[in-house]
Each structure stands twice: as structure tokens, then as C-alpha cells.
Symmetry: C2
Subunit: 96 residues, 2 copies
DNA sequence: TATTGTTTGGACTAATTCATCAAAAATACA
DNA sequence: TGTATTTTTGATGAATTAGTCCAAACAATA
């Protein structure tokens, strides 16, 4: 299971950035970012725009990774997750 | 936007059950269930099997309602939620 | 209206989660 | 090896969230 933290770490190391730099952009302590990357803490959705810019990935890509990790970690063990996601999709297609 | 709490209250009132009964099955205080029904507290997924039995609905139905409410309340304002849900579906189809 | 049962609100406590900070550990490299 | 930089760890306290309990508010009905 690929965590969002691993995703962030991979991308950061690809760019050769230290935690310090990315944490500064997010305005959080490096230790917190370290913990996020190792899944001891969770990233918030408010961090996504800054992470996208700093890690030079598309907003869409990072948001998808975030959503996947969020849902699977909280709901991954439910029996009817698939149906639930399908129904949720129907609901959001209906509105908007 | 229909909340999970409203869903529970509707179903409970259809059956004419008092909070007291359902709360007893869940082994929580009536005031907590009251707050869950009015969205001042959140239900946990551990409550779902008991709620299904007590409210006489299918596990699948109540789980879908729970998942919808959970995702929309936490992620409903993200720009690429639709893509995220589709990707999550792909992921869970792949495994299992 | 009086009584009984149901629901809600709020004060208090407990448990969980989170941020800050400094020092230790690990890594890079002259 | 020695030094500088990066990363991790853990202690502490703040903040958020959850649970208990009881009294007030509300509803139904004799």
C-alpha cells in the first residue's frame, strides 16, 4: 500500500530538496513534515496547493494521491467501499 | 445535502424507536446519539453493524450512506474529487 | 393541568491528536 | 576523520474531540 507520505518523499528526493525547504514553504516545522512523510502525522488538504507548487507536480495529480490515501486509510476495510464510491460519484455528478 | 445523521433519524422515527433504545444497542449515551443525529458528533464505522440491525436496514445500504457522508464532508470541496474517486475505484478493483 | 417519557444542552472529565523545541542520530562530503 | 547538514526522536504542553452525567426543555396523553 503506497502512502501519501511516501509519495511526497519520493518526489522531494527526486528534486533533491531538503525537508527544511519544503517545510518552510508550508510554514510548518521540519519534524512535522518528516512525520508526515513517514505517516506518523497526516497532511491536510490545505497543504496541497503549496506542495504541488514546491514539488512541481500538477494540482490534479497530488490531489488524486491525497484522496486515494485518505479514503483507503479510513474506509479501506469496509465491505461495500466499492459501492459507496460509486454512489458518491453518482451524487457529485448529479449536483455541481 | 443529506447528512448521515438525518438518515439515522428518519429511519429511527419510521420505526418509532426512542433514542434510548438505539443508544442502548450501541452502548452509548442517548445524548451522544442525539448529537450524532443532529451532526454535532460523528458516527464511527464500528457503529454500522449495530445500527443496521437495530434500524433494520441492510449493511450495504447503511455503509453506502456512511461512506457518502464521510467523503463529502471531508473532501467535498476538492477540485478533483471525481478523478480521485475514480482512481480509488481503480485501485481497489486492482487488489482484493 | 399533571404525569410520564423523550430529547437536548451544558458543565465537566478523559482521551486523542497536534505543534514546538532541542538534542540525538544519520548522512554527506571536504 | 572531522565538520556541516539533514533527518529523526521524544518530551512537553496546547488544542481538539469524545464521553459521562444530570438537569432543563419538550412532547404526548391521561
Amino acid at each position: 500500500m503506497n502512502s501519501f507520505g511516501e509519495y511526497l518523499r519520493n518526489r522531494r528526493e527526486q528534486l533533491g530538496l531538503p525537508l527544511r525547504k519544503v517545510a518552510a514553504e508550508l510554514d510548518i516545522d521540519t519534524s512535522i513534515l518528516s512525520k508526515i512523510e513517514r505517516s506518523e502525522r497526516v497532511a491536510t488538504k490545505e497543504m496541497l496547493p503549496t506542495l504541488a507548487k514546491t514539488l512541481e507536480v500538477q494540482d490534479k495529480e497530488i490531489e488524486i494521491e491525497f484522496i486515494k490515501a485518505f479514503i483507503l486509510s479510513d474506509l479501506g476495510d469496509l465491505n461495500f467501499l466499492k459501492s459507496g464510491l460509486e454512489e458518491t460519484l453518482n451524487t457529485i455528478k448529479g449536483r455541481k
